[in-house]
Every structure is written in C-alpha cells, then in structure tokens.
C-alpha cells in the first residue's frame, strides 16, 4: 500500500509517546496516562482497520472479525500472525502472541539496581516497577485492537497481560 517508513522510527515514536505520557504528562496518575495512551491506540486502530478491510465483504460474525484481527491485521502491523486464539464462546477471546514485536527489545534489570543498605531489599519492588513500566507499553496495542473491532461494529474491552517477555496475551471481552 504505497509508502514505507523505517521501523526504528515507528518503534522510537511509540516508546517516546508512552514515556512522555507516563513520565511527563501524567507522572502522578498512571491510570490517566494509560487511558490516554489507549485512546490514541483506539483512533489508530480505527483508521488502520478502515485501510486493511478496504476490499473485503462484511464479516458474518464476531469470530470472523476476530480471526481477521489475528491473521491479516496482525500480519500487516507486526509481520506475523497471532500464535494462539482461545475463546469461551461467550464473548471472551484470548489472543496470544509468543513474540510480540514491540516487546522484543525490552529487558529488565537482572540485578538489584541500588545497593542502599538502609532500604529494605528492593528486588521485588524493582521488578514490580519494571513490570509496570512494561505493561504501560501494552496499552497502545490494546487500544489498536479495540479501535479496529469497534470500527467493524463490535464494541469491546481489551486488556493485556505479560506472561514472560516477549510473550504476551490480549483478552478481548465483547460487550453484549
């Protein structure tokens, strides 16, 4: 579809956007930052799904739409498909990606950063902070999925979990 842009540029832009919202705009309110990032993703997903469904007929049901997200949409965005799709047939879908492209370069500090003896051993909290920072980066793709699905006529809520880097899973709950 026409023009190309360097992947490093897009990656850096997304990273900077997340860090700008988390550390500068809403430094004290991470929930607001998360919602803003997700809203941006929503608009992006909305427009992307418009582009990528341009010559397709309407989707017959929710499962077809989700399969479109897993296969064509994901491969347009991340050059691979979703590795695993699970559903409970009652409106909840779990999309699992074993090597999420935007998480491949993320790695956490293996050793405790500060050797301050006066503080309690902060290994757990350091890991917790790193996990929280990483999860902030997943709000954007959640928004993309939600935007894409809502443009296809399926209102839903999307959340993400990281099992172990770089694998992550997105849980889509369709609103009845």
């Amino acid at each position: 579809m026409g023009r190309e842009v360097s992947e490093s540029c897009v990656d850096s832009l997304v990273i900077e956007m997340v860090s700008a919202y988390c550390n500068r705009f809403y430094a004290t309110k991470p929930e607001l930052a998360a919602r803003r990032i997700e809203a941006i993703g929503y608009l992006v997903g909305h427009q992307l799904s418009e582009r990528y469904t341009i010559e397709r007929p309407r989707f017959s049901d929710h499962l077809e739409a989700i399969k479109f997200i897993c296969k064509d949409f994901w491969s347009e965005l991340f050059k691979k498909q979703i590795d695993n799709l699970k559903t409970n047939h009652r409106g909840t879908f779990v999309l699992q990606d074993n090597r999420f492209r935007w998480l491949t370069h993320v790695s956490i500090d293996p050793s405790p950063a500060n050797t301050d003896i006066s503080e309690e051993p902060s290994l757990a909290t350091a890991e917790g902070k790193a996990a929280q920072a990483t999860s902030m980066h997943l709000y954007f793709p959640c928004g993309i999925i939600r935007g894409a699905l809502s443009n296809l006529g399926i209102p839903c809520a999307v959340s993400a979990e990281i099992s172990n880097l770089p694998a992550c899973s997105f849980v889509v709950r369709i609103k009845a």
């Binding site: 860090s19 790695s107 956490i108 293996p110 920072a133």
Partner: protein, 148 residues
C-alpha cells in the same frame, strides 16, 4: 563500554585459557578507568596528529569529533591485545583479547549493533546510566563465544 561523558556503562573482560575463552567479570577500580580513558584519548589525538596523509591537523590535545581524522583501532602487547571502536555518538567499545586475535573491527561493529538493538531500543533504559539489560548481556555473551 564508555559513553561520551566517559561514564563506564558496561564491563567485561575475556582471557583465553588454552583453546576455550573464559569470561571474567572484573571490578576495575576507578583509577584503572581513568587511566584507560586518558590513554585512549591521548592515543587518538596523537595518531591523528602523526597522520602523514592528512593535511589539516588539529593541535595536540584538542579534542576531535568522533570519526574525524584517522582513528586508531587496536594496540598489542605480548600478553594481550586491546581493540577499540568509537561510534559517531561517542560510545566507545573496548575489547581486550588474546594477542594472536585478528582484526576485530567487524566484531566491534557487530557489538555496537547489538547495543543499538537491545539497549537504545529498550524502553526501560535511560541513556547515560549503566547498562543493565539482560538481553544485551546474553546476546553479547553468545556472540563473543562464537568468536572464540
């Protein structure tokens, strides 16, 4: 690895014992660090000054922009060989190896590539701080083992 402001970002040293290489994390003291930086800085400006092919030379001691003029890449003693590479952004990579090792410039470039991939593109890393990225450590480790 040392960055533009001469902060040591990451250290690892290899000493080959017979055929296999053995990696040793070593706690260099701050003095060693200063010595090394001073040596490399002087070597860089000295080699640029002594360059017979280059017409325009800065005075000795004037810091040159990275990449400008000729740049030295390794020195060798009877017990070890030190290879050096400086990127345009001021990141210096230093590799200390067995004296019989060949030209390591390609390897240094590869390590710099790994640095770009796993450190600069890591959203959890702030530039200028010591590098503590597990992916970077493991990938450099693996790469160097293939060199041995």
């Amino acid at each position: 690895m040392v960055d533009r402001k001469n902060a040591i970002l990451w250290r690892i040293r290899d000493q080959p014992i017979t055929i296999s290489t053995d990696w040793i994390w070593e706690q260099w003291s701050y003095d060693d660090h200063k010595l090394m930086f001073g040596l490399l800085f002087s070597l860089k400006s000295f080699t640029a000054k002594m360059d017979p092919t280059n017409v325009e030379k800065g005075n000795l001691g004037v810091p040159q922009l990275p990449g400008q003029g000729c740049s030295f890449h390794s020195f060798q003693t009877n017990t070890y060989k030190l290879s050096f590479m400086e990127s345009p952004s001021g990141i210096k990579i230093i590799l200390v190896t067995h004296p019989k090792t060949g030209d390591l410039r390609e390897s240094l470039k590869h390590i710099y590539n790994l640095y770009v991939e796993y450190v600069t593109k890591n959203p959890l890393y702030t530039p200028g701080t010591p590098i503590r990225c597990e992916l970077f450590n493991t990938s450099v480790d693996q790469y160097v083992r293939t060199l041995a």
